[in-house]
């Protein structure tokens, strides 16, 4: 899987990321990984659901995994949850 087949979801509006996902499929990607951490996890699920149901009817959720990442901040290490949603044809 090429590195550009990953969409990192942050604090922008959902449709920005949906557009990124749809564009990657239109450019020939077989799978697109949607990744997010912390509060953006909810938005990542929105991105997957909107992409699939409104724009990419031939795409399914191939896998979802969750994990915990350790971030180094000014106040020391902190744990943050992460999600990875793989959409594919």
């Amino acid at each position: 899987m090429a590195e550009n087949d990953v969409v990192f979801v942050g604090n922008k509006p959902v449709m920005n990321y949906v557009l990124a996902v749809v564009t990657q499929f239109n450019n020939g990607a077989k799978d697109v990984r949607i990744m997010a951490r912390g509060q953006a996890i909810s938005r990542a699920v929105d991105v997957a659901e909107v992409s699939r149901s409104r724009f990419l009817s031939d795409v399914v959720v191939k896998g979802i995994s969750i994990s915990t990442e350790v971030l180094n901040t000014e106040r020391g290490e902190t744990n943050v949850s992460a999600i990875e949603i793989i959409l594919g044809k």
Copy 2:
């Protein structure tokens, strides 16, 4: 799966739901389903990760699914994303 083996995650602190999950396993549940909608999805992932890594070392994520639910509000129908995380031994 008994109906009480489901934990619905809302706006309370993460540890409240972690306690509910741990209690259900201690009461003999083989699987516990963690469910959430909208903004609470991020918290549901936190609940699963904290439960598993800190309290239930013999429990794994058995499955994760996402979906879209239609809510009837005063302003008409609206779509909301949902997640279901199944933890099991």
